[in-house]
Amino acid sequence: MKNLKYLVLGVLFGLILTKSEVISWWRIQEMFRFQSFHLYGIIGSAILVGMLSLQLIKRNHVKSLNGETITLADKKYNHGTWIGGIIFGLGWALTGACPGPLFAQLGSGVASAAVLILAALAGTWTYSALREKLPH
């Protein structure tokens, strides 16, 4: 089962999000009100560690377990990058959860997460349907 390793890594990722309380609406409010360093510390140190790891991988031309040369596609800009970014930000402050934490909340037993995930799926579907009509 080649996807099992992603399940295992997902469990660890969900565990970290949960134990560091990133999945809490309270913590997100604290962040947007600049009243705690907690989430800024988490996001900042995650980026720093990610950046250093990627530099090591690129400079040493490390291959993945399946023998492929590791590549990360460049992200392409369009106007959706900032328009969509702001729309997501509005939702992030309302729900107090970005997509990863929504799934961790669901697992932790919060009933509202099920409604939020369904609403998020509806949002993604609506974007997909309207995509050609939206500015990009």
Binding site: L17, K19, V22, L48, F88, L90, G91, P99, G100, T126
Partner: protein, 186 residues
């Protein structure tokens, strides 16, 4: 050790571990960290409805759905099995502001029950926080091409200026909601 695991983890433990997820996914399968894509894959699998953006081989992206399923399992272990505090120890200023500005009184749990209880779907609060909030998350992340994991963690780690634009957008939206729209709603 178990006692340590049970406590809330400090930022300097959680942050670097989250950062290591980026190389871990690349090393085990050359995959880029990104979670909001899973929402698109579920739409493509369940309700493609002939929409071009939802017509692709989502089965090739199954790994992403396994990863997301794992996150839910991790949430169960982290919260229900390892245990959790009744009340999250947020800053006293935040507590004071939320009491004064939003009239919240119950600070137990992961999120305010006064806003997120399912019974709230009978009034405007539930529709704004549960339905509109979730909708904006799903719509905005796909429009922006990523969320906190794909843009903020993975994208910024890979020095993508596009991701910086997206993350600035995330914060503009979040600050607008917190500082401008919340005071209008309450």
């Amino acid at each position: 050790m178990l006692d340590f695991l049970r406590q809330p983890w400090p930022w300097y433990v959680a942050g670097p571990l989250i950062g290591l997820t980026v190389p871990a996914l690349l090393l085990i399968g050359n995959k880029a960290l990104g979670i909001s894509s899973s929402l698109r894959h579920v739409c493509a699998a369940c309700v493609p409805a002939g929409i071009p953006f939802l017509t692709y081989n989502w089965r090739a992206e199954l790994w992403n759905l396994f990863f997301v399923l794992g996150i839910a399992v991790g949430g169960f272990f982290g919260y229900q099995v390892l245990g959790h505090p009744d009340t999250i120890a947020i800053s006293p200023e935040t507590v004071r502001d939320l009491q004064a500005q939003m009239g919240l009184t119950d600070f137990t749990g992961l999120l305010p029950k006064e806003l997120f209880a399912l019974e709230n779907l009978a009034n405007w609060k539930g529709w704004v926080f549960l339905v509109l909030g979730g909708f904006l998350v799903g719509f905005g992340t796909r429009y922006a091409g990523g969320c906190t994991s794909g843009h903020a963690i993975s994208g910024l780690s890979n020095l993508q200026w596009v991701s910086l634009v997206a993350v600035i957008g995330f914060f503009i939206g979040g600050l607008l909601m917190t500082w401008v729209f919340y005071p209008l709603l309450f």
